[in-house]
């Protein structure tokens, strides 16, 4: 354990990563709650003839990415506005 040589990330890096990480946590919870109650398969079935949607995995992924970006936006703005 004596062998650390971690590259220190700067303040900006710290902020960005913290924002992304918190957004990831919140988005995971949101995705879980949302898809526990909403089944995306009817939507997939509805879209399937017109678009090349292979599987529900895409709906789950898009759902997560949607929540992730919204949460990242919120925590990013918060971090930015709280900057002295």
């Amino acid at each position: 354990m004596d062998d650390r040589n971690t590259t220190e990330i700067g303040l900006t890096g710290r902020r960005t990563l913290t924002v992304l990480w918190c957004a990831f946590l919140a988005a995971s919870v949101a995705t879980m709650l949302f898809f526990a109650f909403v089944d995306p398969s009817p939507v997939v079935a509805l879209l399937r003839p017109t678009t090349a949607i292979p599987d529900p995995t895409m709906m789950y992924s898009l759902g997560f990415l949607f929540f992730f970006s919204v949460c990242a936006l919120a925590s990013g703005l918060t971090a930015w506005l709280l900057t002295p």
Binding site: D2, N5, L17, T18, P56
Partner: protein
Amino acid sequence: MTVGAPPEESYYAAHQKVYPREVRGVFTRLRITAAWVLLGLFYGLPWLRWEGRQAILFDLPARQFHLFGLTLWPQDFVFLAWLLVIAALSLFFFTAVAGRLWCGYACPQTVWTEVFLWMERVTEGDRSRRMKLDAAPWSIAKLGRKALKQILWIGFALWTGFTFVGFFTPITDLASRLFAFSASSWETFWVLFYGFATYGNAGFLREQVCKYMCPYARFQSAMFDRDTLIITYDAARGEPRGGRRKGVDPASNGLGSCTDCTLCVQVCPTGIDIRQGLQYECIACAACIDACDSVMDHMGYPRGLIRYDTQHRLEHRSTRILRPRVLVYGMLLAVLIGGFVVALALRKPVGLDVLHDRNTLYRNLPSGEIENVYLLKIMNKDSRPHEFRVSLEPEEAATDGEGSNRHRLDPEEPKFLVPAGEVFNAAVRVRRRAWNDAADTDHEDSGADAETGLGAADEIHFVITAADDPGLTARAESRFFAPRD
């Protein structure tokens, strides 16, 4: 040796010039064992089979969660939430008893960082070698070592991402698809995403995650009190610190037990000096305990200058492990776990959802009857197939003379065979005579809308019962619509 002896004569001041070796000791062994067990579970579990399918699988497309013989559905979401509460409370409990045990032994951040550090050590050598290597000009050897490290890191990170996705999609299929380069773009995306996250967290950020990004690191102090076992330096025994020869009785030259070898600082993964007291950066990895114990052994002093202990005992006051906080956490935990087990055991392996046909509220049949159509979703959460009989629950206001229901199913008793662990969609028709026909007026028209003329609605209850097990039933409510007369 006197107090004022020049430092180069003292044993550990000299030793300090040599770059420290790896720590060895009880806690290091414990930590490595824990890491092996956890990594083994993570990388091994998705490959485990159980009754012909993957033992642990969050099957997203099918919306089922397989846990050995148990299949959980979105309807069982409460169990998952319950589990999370149990996990959180255990964290509280263990933190109250012995501080950041989680961080030192179980946190994925710690475990994966150790693996990445090990790979770095294997390819680039120990700390001094690496510092020399970094300072040296680029050469073939340097390039080779660096490249080898990156290959190991990236390979391991990708394997981690692959394993992670393997918890969500059958891992054997995923493996064959990935190696044939025919995985769906989303699967590839998630493998890369988690691979990248692993690399970033364990290879690049390391202890900075603990210092800057971890919520637990910030709030764990709220669960501490002066009776919590923490990693402490016994300042009363150690100070005043100073170098001395091996075997010298510290009392004879006015010193404490600390030889000021700074080994505890050198081994600390977060780079703090535990001798300055408990700091929030300390992840309780106990590396400093092992390091210090080895020094104490060498000097012939008793071990435990740095040890797990409570603030109270360090202040020579009485300390209790079993105190109200621990008892309350412990009791809550026991109740929650007990309740979880009982609820899981009592869980009915059958579920029923009823949807009213979306397109037509009702139909007037030539026979004078009114018909509604429903879609029944019958969930067989059991591990064997069942045939389910559908019926309507007897109605209180069954007033059409013969004591039977006002509503009836058509056909009378539909049966559906539902395979194990599947949802079966069944359309069923319900009929009843029109109101003017039925000549009874006590119907409730709760859902009726006089203005749109939509009609009255009766509550009806569907019941399904397994033909081979009358105890296996589920019930769901819906509405029967009829024109307003």
